[in-house]
Amino acid sequence: MKMFVCIKYVPDTSEAEVKVNPDGVSVDSSRFSFDINDADNYAVEESVLIKEAGEGDITVLSIGPKQSDVMIRMAMAKGCDQAIRVEDDRIASHDPLMVAKVLAGAIKGQEFDLVLTGCMAGDDGHMSTGVALAEELGVNHASMVKKVEVLDGKVKAHRELEGGLLEVVELELPAVLTIQTGINEPRYAPIRGIRAAQKKELKVASLDDIGVDPVAVGPDASMVILEQLYIPEVESSAEFIEGEAEEKADKLASILVKGGLV
């Protein structure tokens, strides 16, 4: 089983206060701690479990700065075999489609059976990159996967749906699975393992190295424009709409129209 596992280096925003910078489109990250995206951590573990259950070769793939090498080395300490880190400031990284194109560019041309990634990133929460990646690679995908069974030439994926439902699907390989947290219990990467993983290959690549046209994944190609980031205001008032159902619907529609929400 030849696998890729795509991981992202994200800030932990659960402890530190989030402050938007004066430019209005970026966040002050000086007080954040950074680590592997939570769901991606489960994807790494799942890839290692699949490898341990049979045979496998795992390539870690990430787009990020040099500081994220520690996260990549941890994944390699857990059992991943090699890594590619794409570092290029020309990527419109706020757009999951552009990110997917870069990841696909790094994978294309190489043999693979399975690509695993987290179902969602803890920083922007788009939940789109994995699915877009499958589209770019032209392969099957299943999202929000809570259980994986490897079959002959296929995988059975148990997907978490809304309302607590579970959907079981079979996918022909190659395929992309986006992994939901809780699918396993990620292991610890001991420091001696991290040191031993220094011997494994970590290739740092630019867009040119992986054969991706910078224009095609840059701000001009992206259809997403980041206009403003702001902390949602805490509203203290709530309006209860009274009346019969039809009357309520009319009032609600008029509020939505007035507020410019539809």
């Binding site: 932990d12 530190a16 680590d35 300490a77 292991r187 001991p190 001696r192 040191r195």
Partner: protein, 378 residues
């Protein structure tokens, strides 16, 4: 016989054990867990048993209080056999998520509490704190501790220390956000590789400062720096030693009377492991109006609160009474108003026990710096 078993046997001097049983006879944990350290010392000699021993849940019950080491007539440290078995589990990566996250946080952020390094000095807010600079000589370089720096309950230890030092005009300096975990709990959780890295990095960092002494606010950092950092240039002391000096030099004056009955709980890392028994008692006795009483189990026989040995991140399976609860009940029987301690972990475990028992109205747990902060001029 393989090299590995020779290493394990030699590393922990297993052949030195005479199976006298003084270790198990003194182990405070045996009343609530199945831990039998003497059996582990015996069985660990057999290479083929090591994996099986490492998988036993009770290796995580040890609080590293060192009672077994204090009592061993052969000078062995039976508890370290358990830590060696923990290392085997740690190296496999299959550890409790709480342990995993604490250790990973030490590696990434320099503290086991999953807090950002950038927030390490937040406790200093509003205080006039002198910050150390490399190569600028300083008499007392204060080492705060991760728990004191981040836990809102025990930050008062560092804050009051600053006030007392400023008032007394003592030559001191604190580290900024560069202060990194001493590794006390990393060592006892069995993450040997990470501990070795911390020893190397912290030795380099602390030796950059021309400090005469490193003054630790936590007994865990104190014992770790004193016993496991061979290349530190500065002498390592606990803050109670510094405050006791200040007291004897007449640098602490009082602004009121406490008029309370206090029982002092010897922290394992300060007493049994650090051999510091008198200074905390002298400080408490010096507060006007204090009546100091003693637990039956005090000094080197002090009952462990179960806060050490990485137990902050490993919950015992035992449902029997926590030792901290036993301790609080003993204090109640002594009709103490205050259980005084000199350790952040003891504050947290004993206070939890006190609240759990519903004694909040009649008793309190206080760190010595808290009492000094309330009754010393600052």
């Amino acid at each position: 016989m393989s090299t590995e078993i020779q290493t394990f046997t030699e590393k922990y001097d297993l052949l030195g054990c005479i199976q006298c049983g003084r270790c198990t006879g003194g182990c405070p944990v045996t009343v609530r867990a199945d831990l039998n350290v003497r059996r582990f010392v015996y069985d660990a000699y057999y290479e083929e048993k090591l994996d099986e021993l490492a998988r036993l849940a009770e290796i995580w019950d040890c609080t590293a209080c060192h009672t077994c080491a204090v009592r061993c007539p052969k000078g062995l440290k039976p508890l370290e056999v358990l830590l060696g078995l923990r290392t085997m589990i740690i190296e496999s990566g299959k550890v409790e998520p709480t342990v995993r996250d604490a250790l990973q946080s030490v590696l990434l952020e320099g503290n086991p509490w999953e807090k950002s390094r950038a927030a390490r000095s937040d406790w200093m807010e509003g205080l006039d704190v002198k910050i150390a600079e490399p190569d600028v000589p300083v008499e007392n370089l204060i080492f705060v501790c991760c728990t004191i720096a981040y836990d809102p309950r025990v930050r008062v230890i560092a804050r009051n220390a600053v006030s007392l030092l400023n008032k007394a005009g003592v030559d001191y300096a604190f580290l900024d956000d560069s202060e990194t975990c001493c590794g006390s709990e990393v060592f006892t959780l069995g993450e040997e590789g990470l501990f070795e890295m911390l020893v190397e990095d912290n030795t380099e960092l602390l030796n950059e400062y021309s400090a005469k002494r490193i003054v630790c606010l936590s007994p865990h950092c104190f014992t770790t720096y004193k016993t496991k950092y061979p290349d530190l240039k500065a002498e390592v002391i606990h803050y109670t030693q510094l405050l006791d000096e200040m007291l004897k030099d007449g640098k602490i004056s009082w602004k009121g009377e406490l008029n309370r009955r206090i029982v002092y709980h010897d922290p394992c890392y300060l007493g049994k492991q650090g051999d510091i028994y008198e200074e905390p008692r002298d400080l408490l006795r010096s507060i006007p109006g204090v009546e100091l009483v003693e637990f039956d189990r005090c000094r080197e026989r002090s009952l462990c609160c179960e806060g050490g040995g990485g137990k902050m991140w490993v919950e015992s399976e035992s449902k029997k009474e926590r030792l901290a609860e036993t301790r609080i009940k003993d204090a109640k029987a002594l009709e103490a108003d205050i259980v005084a301690v000199a350790c952040p972990f003891c504050v947290l475990t004993l206070e939890d026990a006190l609240k759990g028992l519903g004694y909040e109205e009649e008793m309190r747990v206080a760190e010595i710096t808290e009492l000094l902060g309330e009754f010393a001029e600052a």
